[in-house]
């Protein structure tokens, strides 16, 4: 187990080094980092000063070590739009993103899991077909289009819900549905395949042979076990949602991390953009690591594979 944990941590470290190295190289290959860091319209003196301050006059390997050290210490630079450290901006916006992601996750579970169960229990019937079509639409229709459609319908035409902003629960409804939409479809598919697998197993046959009522078999025996991969996916989805809500948050003017990224791009606020990508990368690499370790802990076969 120890060996496995160390190897996995090693892989994650490689991922992080690659991420940082890519960002580092791409930034320098596409332009002058001093201009990016100071912002457009800087004077020559400002630029020279910034180069000294950020160590950009040093050789590349030294610059990379500095960059990595700063990132590890959580020093992501200062936004020139807001004139505050990117880290502060990030943690100011994070709760909003988490709230949105949590509600979206809930919606995806409430929609996806029951449909997936019905689809698996009534496999190859009309119910199964309906679920498949719902899933296909969920995975194909982009979330931003769902968001725009809902605004047209519920905010402009019917005037039931506010189109943008944050504050009341009404503000949450549309962005959460738009964000949860895709994930509901993926939940549906996973629940379905996981349920099918469990329903095919020996102990379910035994439960049926014992003469247990079908509802008990499905709810108590099958669903419980089928739920394990579903809940794990839910955990990862939460992290992914925080990081992919850029467009949804932009459309609904939801002041989360995604919206911050959009503002960063619009104002060419480079430290913000770079900082958010570093944070997102770190988060996803971390979750993947956690997940690998969790699986190995649950299932010893993985450790020794």
């Amino acid at each position: 187990m120890r060996r496995f944990v160390l190897t996995r941590i090693g892989y994650s470290a490689v991922s992080l080094v690659l991420l940082s190295l890519t960002i580092f190289v791409v930034v320098r290959a596409t332009g002058d980092p001093a201009v990016l860091l100071i912002g457009p319209g800087a004077s020559r003196d400002d630029l020279a000063q910034a180069r000294t301050l950020w160590g950009l006059d040093r050789p590349w390997p030294e610059q990379y070590v500095t960059f990595l050290g700063n990132a590890l210490r959580g020093n992501l630079g200062t936004s020139f739009q807001y004139r505050v450290p990117v880290r502060d901006l990030y943690f100011e916006r994070l709760p909003n993103s988490l709230l949105l992601a949590l509600v979206a996750l809930l919606i995806s579970l409430v929609l996806g899991v029951p449909l997936g169960i019905i689809s698996a229990v009534k496999v190859d019937t009309i119910w199964d077909s309906i679920s498949k079509i719902v899933a296909m639409f969920g995975l194909s229709v982009p979330n931003f289009f769902i968001g725009l459609l809902m605004i047209n319908l519920f905010a402009v035409w019917l005037r039931w819900l506010p189109a943008a902003g944050i504050g009341t629960w009404q503000h949450l409804v549309m962005p959460a549905i738009a964000l949860g939409w895709y994930f509901a479809a993926s939940m549906l598919r996973l629940t379905r395949s996981s349920m099918l697998e469990v329903l095919d197993s020996e102990y379910i046959k035994l439960a049926r042979l014992k003469g247990l009522p079908e509802t008990v078999v499905i709810v108590k025996h099958a669903f419980r076990n089928a739920l394990i991969p579903v809940l794990t996916l839910a955990g990862i989805n939460l992290v992914i949602m925080v990081n992919v809500a850029v467009i949804i948050e932009t459309i609904f003017a939801w002041p989360g991390i995604g919206r911050l990224l959009y503002e960063g791009i619009s104002f060419r606020d480079f430290p913000v953009v770079q900082g958010l990508v570093v944070m997102a990368g770190g988060m996803i690499v971390g979750v993947n690591l956690l997940l690998d370790l969790l699986y190995a802990w649950i299932d010893p076969r993985i450790r020794y594979a």
Binding site: V14, S15, L18, L19, V26, T30, G31, K132, A135, M136, F137, L139, S140, V141, P142, F144, F145, L148, L149, N152, A155, V156, W157, A163, S186, R189, L190, E197, V198, S201, N225, A226, I228, P229, T232, L233, I236, I240, N243, V246, I247, T250, I251, L261, I265, S266, V273, V277, A280, G281, M283, I284, V285, N288, L291, D292, Y295, D299, I302, A305
Partner: protein, 298 residues
């Protein structure tokens, strides 16, 4: 507990949630939609009634579609904030989607194919290095990473294609490497080696033709993702630059006047994107089952 074993790796999890083994019997609809896309893209200059980048001469801005009050048949699907014809922009937008979808997939698929074949055939430390790189890449947040790269490179069709190549190659490398690994041990490859055929020739003549099916399936499943991502990047202003008529860009331009009730500016481009992505996904699923009878989880 078998289900946990199968889900051991996050990559396996991602594959599972993205894979559909059904909806096999509807190649007609997706073929029609994709055929329509190619047709429209190729003949855009013939089909479009107006120049997509210029306002209609003597026309109005925000003119609704023809069946609504205030609409007119000179602009069937209405006009946008500059008085440009929405229909013409949609027709030319098919060009951008097709171009980016196909070239983006080809570049990503090309990089993945190259790395996968090299890793699988050469084995040893090369294999180790390539696979570690692939694993690391798979752990990155794709959309954020694409946005970051696109923001740095600046708006432009070529730049987006580079970004997609850079971001989406991993799946190809992983699957094709596995395929080559087993092909390498097959008799016809062994015999070719014994007969003294050079490595590049073995790869070209004996390995590549045998991984082409898998590659096609993966490619057909990537096209949809690439088209949505292109629309997303354009929507955020780091994709296709204005005044190029791209569907994602049209949505982006319509956003500021959304509350005024000009629904046709968002609904039509959105339907186009969704329809094409749906068709691409359905087609991909169908192709997977046709070309991959063993129904592995690709």
């Amino acid at each position: 507990m078998a289900s946990i074993g199968a889900l051991a790796r996050p990559a396996a999890l991602r594959q599972r949630m993205g894979s559909a083994r059904w909806l096999t019997d509807v190649p007609l609809l997706p073929t029609l939609i994709l055929g329509g896309l190619v047709f429209t893209a190729l003949l855009a200059n013939v089909l479009a009634p107006y120049d997509p980048t210029l306002p209609i001469a003597g026309g109005r801005v925000f003119q609704p579609p023809f069946w609504m009050e205030g609409g007119s048949t000179n602009a069937l699907l209405g006009t946008d904030f500059q008085g440009r014809d929405v229909l013409s922009r949609l027709i030319y937008g098919a060009r951008v989607s097709l171009l980016v979808g196909v070239t983006g997939t080809a570049v990503a698929g090309g990089i993945g194919l190259l790395l996968g074949v090299i890793a699988g055939y050469l084995g040893g430390w090369v294999d180790q290095a390539v696979m570690r790189l692939t694993d690391a890449w798979l752990a990155l947040p794709f959309l954020m990473f694409a946005i970051f790269l696109a923001a740095l490179l600046g708006a432009g069709v070529l730049n987006i294609v580079i970004v997609f190549g850079f971001v989406y190659w991993t799946r190809y490398a992983r699957v094709i490497r596995g395929e080559v690994l087993s092909l390498r041990e097959r008799e016809f490859v062994r015999l070719a080696q014994v007969a003294g055929v050079s490595t590049p020739r073995i790869i070209l003549r004996h390995i590549l033709p045998n991984v082409l099916n898998t590659w096609m399936v993966l490619a057909s499943l990537t096209v949809g993702v690439v088209i949505v991502t292109e629309a997303s990047l354009s929507f955020l202003g780091v994709g296709v630059p204005p005044p190029t008529p791209a569907w994602g860009l049209m949505l982006s331009e319509a956003r500021s006047t959304l509350m005024a009730g000009y629904w046709w500016l968002t609904v039509f481009p959105g339907v186009c994107i969704s329809g094409v992505v749906l068709a691409a996904n359905l087609f991909g699923d169908w192709l997977r089952i046709r070309l991959d009878p063993q129904r592995r989880d690709l």
